[in-house]
Symmetry: C2
Subunit: 182 residues, 2 copies
């Protein structure tokens, strides 16, 4: 059910998806959905909280025990890019329907996102101070890097010429270039 909702939300958006369509995809009647959820909103909340919590956890695991700041940024962007190639639907829903999430979940999700963005920008700041990156505007560089990764969800195909891992490797390299690695 989570999976059916995910597919439809990614395809048509939260408001563009009717519960009847989710039920139909599962071969059951609409009211039967309420044996598993309390409201349509629950499905959106599940997708958004699981995904953003996963992003934050990925980040922490990626940089754990790594000292070199260039390597930390490289690993952080690699796992972020990888997630967007491997979990396209989740990424599309997060970026499209975050405004339709009700409180308090919305604040929780936005705070996790903000933590992640600040962490990436922090790495770029560190790298600049250490003379490893040449891009002076770390805010701009951080947005550029993050959003470039997010966009992978919009074009990546499993049957395309590059695997998710290959794309992730390439993007972590592009990220370093955006930061102006020297």
């Amino acid at each position: 059910m989570y999976d059916a909702a995910l597919t439809l939300f990614a395809e048509r958006g939260y408001h563009g998806t009717a519960l009847s369509q989710i039920a139909s995809m599962l071969g059951i009647r609409t009211p039967s959905l309420y044996n598993h959820i309390h409201a349509k909103q629950d499905l959106l909340r599940d997708v958004l909280t699981r995904t953003t919590e996963g992003v934050w956890q990925d980040y922490q695991e990626a940089v754990e025990g790594v000292d070199d700041v260039v390597e930390r940024l490289s690993r952080a962007t690699r796992v972020y890019a990888l997630r967007h190639a491997q979990h396209r639907r989740e990424a599309l829903v997060v970026n499209r329907d975050i405004a339709n999430l009700e409180e308090p979940a919305r604040t929780h999700v936005l705070e996790l996102r903000r933590s992640h963005a600040r962490a990436i920008q922090g790495l770029i700041d560190e790298g600049i101070e250490a003379g490893r990156f040449s891009e002076p505007n770390s805010t701009l560089a951080a947005f550029g890097v993050l959003e470039m990764c997010v966009s992978i969800a919009r074009w990546f195909r499993d049957d395309g010429p590059l695997s998710a891992e290959e794309v992730a490797d390439k993007y972590s390299e592009l990220a370093l270039r955006v930061a102006g690695v020297v």
Copy 2:
């Protein structure tokens, strides 16, 4: 009315916006909207066709009469980035609700988009052949460049530290770095 629809579509999406909300923003009743449109879909079509046609025109004007391939890519990304900073709402709607556009407008919009993407990738290919860019995968580089610009619409603020022009200049510089300008 176009403007009211644009604001609401950008904020809540096409399916998340009711005609009654558009009418309310204009201080009139819902049925009065039908003196100006035939259907809600007309509003979406107007936003999407105007915007994508504008993107394509911007591109052509930007590269017209410019021979150097690096300069062509720089100018093309500059106008594309500039549009995303100056017309945030339009960009958000295009990227969010293109799937909700009905035929034949949908095909028209997708073809214009594709032409633009191919043009950008073509410039990168040219640059690589001429030994001006070092990124071997032009498809990946083109996606990276284009989507980085698109994302400006998601974070740019008129009252932020950088003007639209400054952001556009910076992004055209980042684009050259993504292509691996040598």
